[in-house]
Amino acid sequence: MIDLHLVENIGADDIKEDPIRKGFGRGLLAAGRQNENVVALCADLTESTQISLFKNEFPDRFIEIGVAEQNLVTVASGMTVIGKIPFTSSYAAFSPGRNWEQIRTTICLNDQPVKIVGSHAGVSVGPDGATHQMLEDIALMRVLPNMIVLAPADSVEAEKATIAAAFNDKPTYLRLAREATPVFTTAETPFEIGRAYVLREGSDITLLGTGTMTYQCLLAAQLLEKDGISAEVVHVPTIKPLDQGTILGSIHKTGRALSAEEAQAAGGFGSAIAELLSTELPTPLRRIGMKDRFGESGTPNELLKHFGLDGENIAQQAKEFVHNTPQYHKW
């Protein structure tokens, strides 16, 4: 296994934490410095989406839209015709929540390189409650032709993902989270749009994580090891297009798959894996996510635990799965 230069203290209490959205803020600034055509638009959420860093350095390339998410993405679409590379930021519940059709028609059907940043995705938004806890965005974005869907695992990866998205010349959706989460990748950890990464090798089950859930899969793998179960952890920061080779290679080896996402269990990341497996490599798959219900107010950690979106529950589910399901592809 190639060295992915992850931090040494995965699972330790003292692991450094940083919000994924801050990685985006830094990445956007870096992209803006690299290319003067990068511009940024925000729907009245400059500070919390961290687009403020870009705004402060390039005020002439920042456009305040106000609370008008439909206008947000369609103005951005127009700007690409004059050669700009626009990033639009708002909370995922509002963009793509509110403006999905405009994204579909003016960005995807037009095939224009607008980068839609959906911050504050998942239940870890916390006390604001269900209205702001976007769980359906992965499903909404991945079914759109021409749309690339990215969910970085930590703020270091988010920075790289943002810069990569800036220069891929495609419509791209970048999913960010609000709360500080463990930073387990480093500057040397590779990131490439369209690539999945085997973070930890194992033989009994493949845990597939995306976004904030990848770290939880790593925690689950540590817990499972104590129970004598060898879990392979595959990180999938690009939900669309899926790195079929890496994913299928792992699942062919372990014969069991479990996916985890801070989103509805239906229609999103796990469903994309299910679609892939049913066509290419039918394998039992357990999908961890929100079970067709909305979130609610609470602290981020409370909510993640409450909804089973943490390492402990992933390990528990994986253990039951391993004990009850034969390993496929061994005949």
């Binding site: 008008a68 439909q70 206008n71």
Partner: protein
């Protein structure tokens, strides 16, 4: 593109109307009333107002024209063909499988289109985005952004988000043209969702407003000249048009909004167009 006399422009408008009738009849589906009503606006745009090069649709100095009410695209296709963007014959491929002339305009299918539209409400925002860049980011005072909108389309909130944005940013290089034909699918605009005081609405959003006869080519040209002379506000021209203009049995009737003529109706319509609604008669009739 200029150099045509007013008479030549009026003749061009008739030709465009004929193209629309033949195109729709051949396609078997599509919208009649709006495109016929907008033929004078599109003649004025493609043959006088716009700085464009049909042989070079991506010319970096070109003016930009967006059709936000994308269902009216037959008039844009006809104007583009007559202007030389593609052969007039190709108009007969409208809405057919594999055609570049999709039922609603798609930017990636046909060079010369600046956007994809159809769902209504997003063209003004896109135009505003272009205008914003051309005014504030990569300034170019020689390029203008025109966007045609339907009046029923103004029901959409997205339009007013864009209007606010353009007003705030004083996008003087943005010129909207509203096809005020008073019809939409379910009936008259003032029955379905009244728009008046329409002029007052735009003015309160910080726009310069003109009201013109949208079926008079000279008024359209003058209106756009006036709009370009406004330096501190975006401009909108409320162009009063007759839906179905040129074909008397279609005029003023909202049922023709979304219907194409059948072959008998098309034959009659072409006769009306060539005879200016019966004003000219020939010995053979």
């Amino acid at each position: 593109m200029s150099g045509l006399t007013m008479t030549q422009l009026e003749e061009k408008a008739i030709t465009i109307r004929e193209d629309i009738i033949r195109m729709l009849e051949h396609a078997g589906s599509g919208h009649s009333a709006g495109p016929l009503g907008l033929s004078d606006v599109f003649t004025a745009l493609y043959f006088n107002i716009l700085k464009i090069d049909p042989k070079n649709p991506s010319w970096e100095e070109r003016d930009l024209l967006l059709l936000s009410n994308g269902h009216c695209v037959p008039v844009q296709y006809a104007a583009m063909a007559e202007a030389g963007y593609f052969p007039v014959d190709e108009l007969m491929t409208l809405r057919k499988l594999g055609s570049r002339l999709q039922g609603h305009p798609e930017r990636t299918k046909l060079p010369g289109l600046e956007t994809t539209s159809g769902p209504l409400g997003s063209g003004l925002s896109q135009a505003a985005g272009m205008a914003y860049v051309l005014k504030n980011i990569t300034p170019n005072p020689h390029r203008w952004v025109y966007v045609v909108m339907g009046d029923g389309e103004l029901d959409e909130g997205n339009i007013w988000e864009a209007a606010m944005f353009a007003g705030k940013n004083k996008l003087h290089n943005l010129i909207g043209i509203v096809d005020r034909n008073n019809i939409q699918i379910d009936g008259s605009t003032e029955d379905v969702m009244p728009l008046e005081d329409l002029k007052g609405k735009w003015e309160s959003f910080g726009w310069h407003v003109q009201e013109i006869d949208g079926n008079n080519i000279e008024s359209i040209i003058d209106g756009c000249s006036m709009a370009r002379a406004i330096t501190n506000q975006p401009s909108v021209i409320i162009a009063h048009t007759i839906p179905g203009k040129g074909v008397d049995f279609m005029e003023y009737d909202y049922h023709w909004h979304g219907a194409p003529p059948n072959s008998e109706q098309a034959k009659e319509a072409l006769g009306k167009l060539r005879s200016l609604n019966g004003k000219i008669t020939g010995e053979h009739e």
